[in-house]
Structures are given as structure tokens and as C-alpha cells.
């Protein structure tokens, strides 16, 4: 059974034009995809549907075997906790330290503090922020903020990882390290979808590509099943 399934999904903001139209695809458990397309093609909107930041205006979205399109809002947190999201604008909480930002998903899930401390410390060291755990996001560079955002997305070992340009602001060496972390998570069963413009990365890792053009998923390549 597919982990994520979109069937004739459409999305519009308010009364504006449809940003996504008739998008249909399914992602198998443990798959890894790159989402590409020109600016304004609808990549961020598709990712919003994937991390449940929006619900479609039409069509059906199924995640982890549940129809989330008409799901009661009280049920959404349980689904969202299985998704790790790297937002385009990071969405870090400015008054919390890097450590506390990364610890958030575990605290929300009620994980004991000693377990949280061990994991967060280890992960922040791994992404090169071991010395900046107590730093607040406004004092960090763009690349450092992005690494905090990535660490927060993966800390709770999500079943689905959705990332919007996760290597956009960081130097190539760290970017490669981050992608290797994603590869490692993927090997352990996490389904990953990354929006990127970087053709080098797509070529280098060789994962299938989903291409959006004017709101339509036009060319699902190998590994993506058209629903």
C-alpha cells in the first residue's frame, strides 16, 4: 500500500486560480524523490499539501492509510507527527535556542527529557552546530538556521520527510552531508521528497524526479506511480 496517495488533487488560494490541478501520484514506503519545476510551478503548494499545511480544494489525499482530505482537525496532529518538514522560510521559533527548536517535536510528542537531550545534542553536533546549541536563530547565519530546521525535521525519525530546498543556503560540503543524512534516514525506511532546483544533486543521487509545470505533474519518472 502506498504511503502517500494523491488522486485528482486541486488547490487554489481563496478565489484565485488553481495552483495545482488534477495532481495524481502515489509514493511507496521508503521511496526517495526529487520534486522539480520552475519557480511558481506549484512545488511549495504541493509540499504544503504533503506536510498538511493546507488541505486540497478538490480531490483526495491519503497518507499512512488515512484520507486526510476530510479528516477531523483533532486527528491531524497524530498524522503531522509522522511527517518531518523543512520549510522554505525555516519557521524557527526566534526566542528559543537552536537546541530547544530541535527538541520541539520530541517535547510535543512527550518524549522523556533525558532521551531528548541525548538525541538533540548528538544531531546538532552531527550537523556542525555543537558549539551553537544555545544560540538563538536571529544570531545564526542563513545556513546555520537551515541546519537547525533540518535537524528539527528529522529528530523524531519521521515516516515522511518533506523538504523545500533544504540545501539552498548552505555550502556544498555541508549540503552533501545533509543529503547523506537523508539517504541514511531513507535506508531506515523514511520516505523522502525534496524540492530542489539543483540538477547536480538530482544527477548525483539518481533518485526519481517528479516534475511540476504550471500546477500539473506532467512527467512522473521511474519510481513514482501515476495514481
Amino acid at each position: 500500500m502506498a504511503l502517500v496517495s494523491f488522486s485528482n488533487v486541486g488547490l487554489r488560494y481563496s478565489t484565485g486560480p488553481e495552483i495545482l490541478n488534477d495532481v495524481s501520484f502515489s509514493l511507496e514506503k521508503g521511496s526517495f524523490h526529487f520534486l522539480t519545476g520552475a519557480s511558481g510551478a506549484g512545488k511549495t503548494s504541493l509540499l504544503k499539501l504533503l506536510y498538511l499545511g493546507k488541505r486540497p480544494t478538490r480531490g483526495i489525499v491519503t497518507m499512512f492509510g488515512e484520507d486526510v482530505t476530510r479528516m477531523k482537525r483533532e486527528q491531524l496532529p497524530a498524522i503531522r507527527r509522522q511527517i518531518g518538514s523543512v520549510f522554505q522560510d525555516f519557521r524557527l521559533l526566534a526566542h528559543l535556542s537552536a537546541y530547544d527548536n530541535v527538541a520541539l517535536p520530541m517535547r510535543i510528542a512527550g518524549v522523556p527529557e533525558d532521551h531528548t537531550r541525548r538525541n538533540v545534542t548528538e544531531l546538532l553536533r552531527w550537523v556542525g552546530l555543537g558549539e551553537k546549541m544555545e544560540a538563538k536563530p536571529p544570531t545564526l547565519s542563513g545556513g546555520e538556521q537551515q541546519r537547525v530546521a533540518i535537524a528539527r525535521a528529522v529528530i523524531a525519525r519521521p515516516k515522511l520527510l518533506v523538504a523545500d530546498e533544504p540545501t539552498g543556503n548552505i555550502d556544498p560540503e555541508i549540503g552533501m552531508k545533509i543529503l547523506l543524512l537523508f539517504e541514511e534516514l531513507n535506508k531506515h525506511g523514511t520516505t523522502i521528497i525534496i524540492a530542489t532546483h539543483d540538477a547536480d544533486i538530482i544527477r548525483r543521487f539518481g533518485h526519481p524526479e517528479m516534475r511540476l509545470q504550471d500546477g500539473t505533474l506532467i512527467m512522473p519518472k521511474s519510481g513514482v506511480k501515476a495514481a
Binding site: 506536510y51 498538511l52 499545511g53 493546507k54 488541505r55 482537525r73 483533532e74 491531524l76 496532529p77 497524530a78 503531522r80 507527527r81 511527517i83 518538514s85 520549510f87 519557521r91 521559533l93 526566534a94 526566542h95 528559543l96 530547544d100 520541539l104 517535536p105 510535543i108 510528542a109 528539527r152
Partner: protein
Amino acid sequence: MTRKIFQKYQYDIALESGVGANLVSWATGLMVFFMTLAIAVNIGLASITDNWVAGLSGSLTVELQPPAPADGKEKVSDEQEKAFTTLAEKIAALGGTHAGVTAGRVLAQEEVLKLIEPWLGTAMPADLPLPALIDLTLAPDADTAALKKDILAIAPKATVDTHDDTLKDVTTLVNTARLFVMLLSGVIMLLAIVAISGMVRAKLAIHHQEVETLHLIGAHDEYIARQFRHHTLKGTLKGAVAGVAAMLLTLYAIGQMTRTIDSSLLPDLHLTEKDWALLVAAPILAGALIAHLTAQKTVMKALARLD
């Protein structure tokens, strides 16, 4: 619980910074200040009524008009004076001889003068004719109508005051005032609810993006509401304690100022330990409860509109 509220609590939402971080404390402080005043007034009025009722019920006052000089005479004769005094003592002697009276006493001239002092002042002429006032203490099951009849049999021109009408009027007046004060407390509480609710909504609007991020990470509404609740409760308790303290100081200052006022015009006001405990605890507890419930309801209602 208090330790838990005041210990360092980490908010995921930056509720403790920015414009209006202390607005809840100020609003609650003012609410509690006036609520404490309302309770103090209420307790005071109740105490005054109780004092009056205790002083007047179970007793009866007989008033004998002083004798007038005989025709053609300038002064009252010694015989008239003697008859007047004897009559007063005869009525007072009902205490112990009459079944409905346990004790009787003719008020001394100084006591009578003290009673009329608020109206006539202290500079009264020495030969001012004063009535005789006889205070009779009634037995618990005394038949006041029969007693009144017996007194009038002794002194047909006597005025017998059972205090019933006075007590009824005073009690009605004080109870109306107490009801008004309680209504005022209700209005103050309502205003506090509106103010706290408005402030919580404003905070939700200011921190909309943080709330949305927490939702996207998987936080339940309750997780977010808990932070608003804690923040509001903390602000409320701070404001409430300050409000009560300010009002107690005000009451103390009023007490000091009124000490110089002629006490014969003011009824005796005495607050018991229970009254003081109510005065301090009720506004704080009411403030905390109002804040807790208002914050919870406002946040949950607002979050329910988000997806």
C-alpha cells in the same frame, strides 16, 4: 502548584515579550482592586447591620416626656420631678417582676445627652428638659404587645418603641446597598472576562505564525492552550496579589483618616479573621479562576478556527 506556576517555565510561543506582555497583570490588578473594595464594603455593611440588629433586637425603649411647669409657674416643681422619676423607676422595675422583661434600667442623663449629641452638639443648656429613657431587656419569648399594654397601664403617655420598624427600614436599606455592591462586582468580573479574552485573542494574532508552526510540528490545541493558560494565570496572580495589597493599603489609609472623624456619627465596624481571609483570598482565587477559564475557552475557540 504555586511553585510550579512561578518556576521558570519555557514558553514555545514568545508570550513573555513584546507589546502588552503585562497587560493581563494590569487588568487583573485593577479588577481585583475594585473587587476587594466591593467585598470590603459588603462585609462592612453586613457588620454594621449585625451590630444594629444585635443592639436593638431583644430590647425595648420606653420614653417618658419630661413634665411641663404647672400653669403660671416658670419651673417644674419638685413634686413633679419626683413623680416623673418614680414613674421611670417603676417601669424599670418591671425587670424581674414582669414575665416578659429580664432587666430594666433608666438611662443616666449623660447617656441621654450622648444620644442627642449628633443632632444638638455638646453645647446644650443645663436646664434643657430631657425625656426619661428606660431600656428594658426582653425575655426570649416575650409578648411585646402584652408588655406594651402593661407599660401603658402604668404610664399612659409613655412612648414604647419596640424598634421593629427601625430595624426593618435599616435592614432593607443595607440589603439594597449590599445587592448593589454585589451587582457591581458582577459587572467588574464581566469586564475582566472581556479584557482577558481580548488580550488572549490579541496574543494569538501576534503569535499566529508560531502557533501555526507548532501545529505543523504536531502540537495539539491543548498543548498550545496550556501555554496561554499558564501565561495568563501567572499574569493574573501577579496582578491579583498587587491589587489586593493596594486595596488593603487603601483601606488602612481610610481607617487612619476616619479615626479623626467624630465616632458618634459612624457605626462601629469590626472585621473578624474570617472576614479578612475572605477579603484577601476571594479576589485572588476569583481572578485566577476567571483567567484560567477565560484563557482556555478563548484559545480553544480561536484554535478551532485554524486547520
